[in-house]
């Protein structure tokens, strides 16, 4: 059963590993929990999910797998680890009861009967409440498995809140696949910062060491200096004047919020697509143009290029000379984008359009190809992946 559960998490796109799965098995075997599904929910989550951004996904996967199941027993088939059951029984039975079990044929007999009961129960599906036996009638009931046990009796379920933890979806806001908003902008910032700060190694300060050793009458005195941080230089190209303004603006804010973390961060604006001129100041768009060539010459190939735009337009705007909607462009958009990506080998495109819509827009497909697939949605996750691609 555990394997199935594990695989279904994988199918839901959770990054679970075998190591963590074994950890869960070990915890079950060592009796960390005793059969309530709620406990199993928490235990499996602490073992398998290491990022609260994935909690919501886990909740959905869990709900799908355990739909309508109220007791672990119902999904545990005959191959429950024997050890686990033994521990369980040992814990829950008094000395007296244990003696009774012995009389019934000992532990093995108990286990066998329990397994059998589980099997039968699986076939029967007693109207939604999938419990094993009923207190008082089955030998298990008679031995009084108490409610905090595997809950073979019904007691445990009655006063439970109707809504399961995993159905409450309390971690929805932590999911990193939703669009950038006020709530998750902090997370996005952290990912950017992580990208901006590359290592903080210490290195030997040769000059300093020689100087201080000399001052020290020849006795060695090592001097260390922190390696330079903030090595990252970024060119940010933002598409403005369209339906995506809000998003683009948010992205701009995001970058300016961590401006100090970068060694250099330069902004430029364009409309729909990049041609021979771009702007530095959004408001002076018509008066203050910069030649794209000059920008290419000024900022060397140690810069990383981040283009933000919806890439949604008529294909002509990319393919044709004169395709621009605003002016006559002698050279096609393709040529300009190629010039950029040829120089800046580290380049990504961030697209605020929901990723699900991408395949339906021809121009997005074209840009994506031109960018060699390095187009990322404007979500925390997308940003994170984009930053990885920039390394």
């Amino acid at each position: 059963m555990l394997i199935d559960f594990f695989l279904s998490l994988k199918q839901h796109g959770l990054p679970v590993s075998v190591k963590e799965y074994l950890m869960l098995c070990e915890a079950m075997e060592k009796g960390v929990i005793h059969g309530s599904v709620d406990d199993f929910y928490h235990l499996s989550r602490i073992c398998l999910v290491k990022d609260e951004a994935n909690f919501d996904r886990f909740d959905r996967a869990f709900a799908a797998y355990f739909k309508g199941v109220e007791s672990l027993a119902a999904v545990l088939p005959a191959d429950i680890p024997e050890e686990w059951l033994k521990k369980l029984a040992e814990r829950l039975l008094t000395e007296e009861e244990k003696a009774q079990v012995e009389a019934l044929g000992g532990w093995d007999k108990l286990m066998e009967t329990l397994k059998q009961r589980l099997e039968e129960q699986k076939g029967r599906h007693q109207g939604g409440s999938k419990w094993i036996g009923t207190a008082g009638t089955s030998p298990f009931g008679a031995y009084g498995y108490n409610p905090e046990g595997i809950r073979i009796g019904q007691e445990g379920s009655r006063n439970r809140s109707a809504v399961k933890v995993w159905d409450r979806r309390e971690f929805r806001d932590y999911d990193d696949n939703v669009e950038l908003g006020i709530r998750n902008i902090q997370l996005a910032l952290r990912r950017l910062r992580k990208f901006a700060r590359e290592g903080a190694e210490e290195e030997l300060d040769m000059d300093g060491t020689i100087r201080s050793t000399a001052n020290n009458a020849g006795y060695l005195e090592l001097k260390l200096v922190p390696e330079r941080h903030n090595k990252v230089k970024v060119l940010l190209f933002l598409d403005i004047g369209g339906s995506m303004d809000d998003y683009v603006h948010r992205c701009e804010e995001l970058f300016s919020a961590c401006k100090t973390e970068f060694k250099h961060l330069e902004y430029f604006y364009f409309h729909n697509f990049i041609y021979e001129s771009i702007w530095r100041n959004n408001r002076l768009r018509h008066s203050e143009k910069f030649s794209t060539f000059d920008v290419l010459h000024k900022y060397g190939n140690d810069y990383k290029l981040i283009i933000v735009g919806d890439a949604t337009m008529s294909p002509y705007e990319i393919l044709q000379p004169g395709g621009s909607v605003e002016h006559w462009n002698d050279e096609t958009g393709i040529i300009w984008l190629k010039r950029l990506t040829d120089l800046y080998r580290r380049a990504i495109w961030i697209n605020p359009t929901p990723e699900a819509h991408w395949p339906w827009t021809q121009s997005i497909k074209m840009v994506r190809e031109l960018m060699e697939d390095r187009m990322f949605p404007m979500t925390v996750k997308g940003l994170g992946e984009g930053m990885k691609a920039l390394r």
Partner: protein
């Protein structure tokens, strides 16, 4: 040996489960959550509840993994050798043991807190993989392998400033402390102020959660701010009525400076209150 919360610390069921899993399986437990949700305190309370010594390793941006194991002071030794000191012959004199070493060599099981691991360099957690897994490491200088006599119970906290590497995460249990709901918060306050008047508590909680829900705050007040604030209210003998927002003149709760510490937040708050007053 089971952790069931303590007199000073309110632990939710899922948190207790996480602690017990970590204790039973002797694997580290990684704790994340908003500031002030009791991450650091947890390790202290578990140590106290289980009657075990607590060793703490507070991580800073400059902390290196090696420092938790040991440090070899080559420079002093070099200097001593130039001065012809006797102790220079034994390298052990220049090895100073780190927190992990002390946890490993302890004669009884200890609780080890690695606090704010996200402050360090991103490589830091990766440098501790083997140590956390096998609970042993090799000291090159003295040519000995230090093996934990008793696997310590390890708590690691993070404020999410950096992401932690996957290989590291796979070795830990992970629990996220959610911000306490009203009920839990009430219990936490009870623990700190056992004799607090019901009416005052009710009004204070009302104000606190209202402020937390105010959009646009840079830093939402946390548990510790609530506790500080209540302490002030009690010290100044503020009556519960003074916290009721129904009273137009007292829209601003007394001593709210304890709740809002960021200047921008205070301004925002005052502005909103001002607007609310005017619209009455």
């Amino acid at each position: 040996m089971k952790f069931t919360g303590s007199q000073n610390y309110i632990a939710t069921d899922d948190l207790k489960l996480a602690v017990n899993a970590a204790v039973t399986l002797q694997r580290p437990l990684l704790i994340k959550g908003e500031p002030g949700t009791g991450k650091t305190m947890l390790a202290e309370e578990v140590a106290a509840a289980l009657g075990k010594p607590l060793l703490q390793w507070h991580i800073k941006s400059t902390t290196k993994a090696q420092q938790g194991l040991y440090e070899y002071d080559a420079v002093s030794r070099l200097r001593d050798s130039q001065l012809g000191e006797e102790k220079v012959k034994d390298i052990k004199n220049y090895i100073s043991k780190g927190t992990m070493w002390r946890a490993f060599e302890a004669d009884e099981q200890v609780v080890l807190l690695i606090d704010e691991i996200d402050k360090a360099d991103i490589e830091f957690p990766n440098d501790l993989l083997r140590e956390l897994d096998r609970m042993e490491f090799y000291c090159y200088e003295t040519r000995e392998t230090v093996v934990a006599k008793h696997r310590p119970i390890i708590f690691i906290t993070s404020n999410n400033e950096k992401e932690l590497p996957d290989a590291f995460l796979r070795r830990c249990f992970f629990h996220y402390i959610r911000f306490p709901d009203r009920n839990t918060m009430q219990q936490i306050v009870d623990v700190h102020f056992p004799g607090l008047k019901k009416a005052l508590l009710k009004e204070a909680m009302e104000v606190f959660f209202d402020i937390r829900e105010m959009p646009g705050l840079k830093k939402k007040p946390s548990t510790s701010e609530l506790l500080d604030w209540i302490k002030l209210l009690v010290a100044e003998d503020i009556p519960p009525e003074a916290l009721k927002s129904g009273d137009t003149n007292k829209l601003i709760p007394p001593m709210y400076g304890a709740l809002l510490k960021n200047e921008q937040d205070v301004h925002l708050f005052e502005k909103l209150v001002f607007l609310a007053k005017r619209n009455r």
